[in-house]
């Protein structure tokens, strides 16, 4: 089932995942989609952000409390100009807390849980290296969705090296736990005989990493293995949820060439994996008048004939002619420069138009992330778009 507007998506889906290249305003768009849902229909809406800018977090009333869900009350929304029909809640993802929760949930007993939580490798994986964030964000989504408390969850996907990493994270996690290598490594620790196949590997690993470190790794994964079944089941559930018909992807980009290329690649990958593409949002677009042919004609005319334009302006407004001429000359020049950019953006937009059922262009706003009012404005733009 395809839906012909962003508003339609918010009314028919339970999960909307906002994804796309870095630096395009993904978090702001996610918040605006949630706002749109809350102002257009009754229901409980949650926006889950991964790493919001401080001003956006402040605007949303997020105070950095681990994994807590905060409701934006109606008075605050009213002050921003919004009349909500539903409830708007938001939450941040606390990576460390989410990992700890996950371990505690799946560990067979408290002893195993605390053994894992105190292992230096575990602390390193969760605290220092970002790859694990992809998985935990999806895990947290699953958990929130399973509570059944939300009519709609809008997710701002984590910043990754590759925007697709989070899609593959559940499968990677399952693969990892079922890998033969993991079993190779764990066999000797269980007191069994070191298999012939494993010998060259452990030999080399030992030379490179040292015995103590190998022992740490083994201990860590031996503890983790007790949670194998739970992990794999969860990972599969996450995969199912992503391809469920109640879930839709909203790809965010700017109309600039580099991010848009990444977004296009992403759209095709989503399509090839049979995930539902709900909409493409082109954020921070130049004013639409800039790419009109009439603008080019007008700026040429102004550039050629600056003096006569300036005389008219000076007469009517009591300005100094030299000032008027200088200002209008600059305006003509700036217009020609920006028109080039605008035409490039328009061409790029035409190229991607067929890649998503809905393409929404959002103009660049002076102050987009600073306030709830700005998010309300964006919600209006997203809601008006067909």
């Amino acid at each position: 089932m395809t839906t012909s507007s962003v508003r339609g998506l918010t009314e028919t889906r339970e999960i909307i995942l906002c994804c796309g290249p870095g630096g395009v305003g993904k978090t702001t768009i996610a918040a605006s989609v949630a706002m749109l849902a809350a102002i257009s229909s009754p229901g409980r809406v949650l926006v889950l952000t991964i790493d919001p800018a401080r001003r956006l977090a402040d605007a949303l009333g997020l105070k950095g409390i681990a994994n807590d869900v905060t409701r934006i009350d109606d008075a605050t929304l009213a002050a921003a100009g919004a009349t909500p029909r539903g409830e708007l809640h938001c939450a941040m993802l606390d990576m460390k807390q989410s990992w700890d929760d996950l371990i505690v949930r799946h560990a067979p007993d408290d002893r195993t849980a605390s053994r894992i939580l105190s292992n230096p490798l575990y602390q390193n994986i969760t605290g220092r290296f970002v790859q694990s964030h992809d998985y935990i964000a999806m895990e947290r989504l699953l958990e929130l969705h399973a509570t059944g408390e939300w009519d709609l969850i809008v997710v701002d996907t984590p910043p990754t090296r590759n925007a697709l990493d989070f899609l593959d994270a559940p499968a990677r996690m399952a693969d990892f736990f079922s890998s033969r290598l993991l079993r190779w490594l764990i066999v000797p620790a269980k007191g069994g005989l070191l298999g012939f196949a494993a010998r060259p590997f452990t030999q080399v690993a030992d030379r490179i990493l040292g015995t103590q470190f190998l022992a740490d790794i083994t201990d860590f994964f031996l503890s983790l293995q007790s949670m194998y079944g739970g992990f794999v089941e969860r990972a599969r559930a996450v995969s199912r949820l992503l391809s469920d018909e109640r879930t839709s992807f909203l790809v965010v980009s700017t109309p600039e060439p580099a991010p848009l290329r990444e977004a296009e690649f992403f759209l095709r990958e989503l399509a090839s994996r049979r995930y539902e593409i709900g909409a493409l949002v082109l954020n921070r677009a130049l004013p639409p008048t800039l790419s009109l042919a009439a603008t080019e004609v007008a700026s040429d005319e102004l550039g050629r004939d600056t003096a006569s334009f300036a005389t008219a302006a000076a007469d009517e407004l009591g300005l100094d002619v030299a000032t008027a001429e200088r200002v209008l000359g600059v305006a003509a020049h700036a217009t020609r420069e920006w028109a080039v950019v605008a035409r490039r953006e328009a061409a790029a937009r035409d190229r991607v138009a067929h890649e998503a059922p809905v393409v929404v262009t959002v103009p660049s706003l002076d102050d987009e992330v600073g306030s709830l009012a700005g998010i309300f404005t964006l919600a209006g733009i997203l809601g008006d778009a067909a």
Partner: protein, 307 residues
């Protein structure tokens, strides 16, 4: 910035760090140095900036420019094992790829240290006069830069541990190594730049060589001219009232407000950066902003800012 032999160029996604890394590498190569430009995320954008086609672990020399390579941690491991283990590795470990994947997943920092290790190795062996790295984005670069230290903490013995010492010597020497943070005059990139510079200085001994503010817009009007434009734009005297001029006024308004906002963000950046840290500005490229031509343009304007 240009005297260092190892430069890590990082920045928030979308700020143009690859373009700046390419420009720096081109600039250094143009001054007669042997330069290696290395991309760590294998997206191919750096090679595209030199129009070098598909580039792998084996460096490809760009005529008139640097040599370009794309980091491949498995190839790096293979090279490393060949150098350090006496056994013919490739024959002995059949599924090296699988084994490597496992070790890299199991032992955090291994992937990163193979990247950083290879780069430090090139610096140590002096195969090149300078190595410019199109490094990971702001969120990930610390993991890369601190990998040797992390490994030092986790691994007590073994080959890798014995290798971290000389890497740290190279990384922690401010005359040799520096981090260049690329930003744009926008809110989020500036916020992330300030956070990253703080974090690098707090948690590592690696020197920040400078900040490059990419896509800086020219100032259109002084205060008086801006007021004059505002009155012209609202009254629209003479032919300016024709609808064809809507776009002209929109464009000029857009250009001035973007410039003004940008200047505010640059002011925030300057206030937040440690005193004396070099800040270089790169103009917004209105024409084609990609490919070798753009790289040479960036190099030329970096030369103006940095030399």
């Amino acid at each position: 910035m240009l005297d260092r032999r190892l430069l890590f160029v990082t920045g928030k996604g979308g700020t143009g760090k690859t373009t700046i890394a390419a420009g720096l590498a081109w600039l250094l190569a143009a001054s007669g140095r042997r330069v290696l430009a290395c991309e760590v995320d294998a997206k191919g954008d750096l090679a595209a900036a030199f129009e070098a086609g598909k580039v792998g672990f084996e460096p490809v020399k760009v005529p008139g420019g640097p040599s370009v390579m794309s980091m491949d941690t498995e190839a790096s491991l293979r090279e490393y094992l060949k150098l350090h283990l006496k056994i013919p590795v490739v024959g002995r470990i059949g599924p090296l790829a699988a084994a490597f994947d496992f070790v890299a997943t199991a032992a955090p920092g291994v992937r990163e240290i193979l990247t950083v290790g290879k780069l430090c190795y090139e610096v140590r062996e002096r195969t090149y006069d300078a190595v410019v790295v199109d490094a990971a984005a702001t969120g990930h670069v610390l993991g890369q830069l601190t990998a040797p230290e992390a490994i030092n903490g986790l691994v007590k013995v073994g080959l890798i541990r014995s290798q971290t010492g000389w890497m740290l010597d190279i990384l922690n020497d401010p005359a040799t190594t520096g981090v260049v943070v690329v930003t744009t005059p926008e809110e989020m990139p500036v916020v992330e730049t300030l956070e990253l510079v703080d974090k690098i200085r707090e948690t590592t001994s690696i020197d920040v060589a400078g900040v490059v503010v990419n896509r800086t817009l020219p100032e259109l009007f002084g205060v008086r001219d801006e007021a004059a434009f505002a009155s012209i734009a609202s009254a629209r005297p003479g032919r300016l009232s024709e609808p064809g001029f809507d776009g002209v006024l929109d464009a000029t308004r857009h250009a001035t407000s973007r410039r003004r906002l940008g200047a505010e963000h640059v002011a925030t950046l300057r206030r937040g950066l440690p005193e004396g840290l070099p800040v270089a500005f790169q103009p917004y490229l209105f024409t084609r902003a990609e490919g070798l031509r753009a790289t040479r343009q960036v190099a030329a304007s970096l030369a103006g800012e940095l030399t």
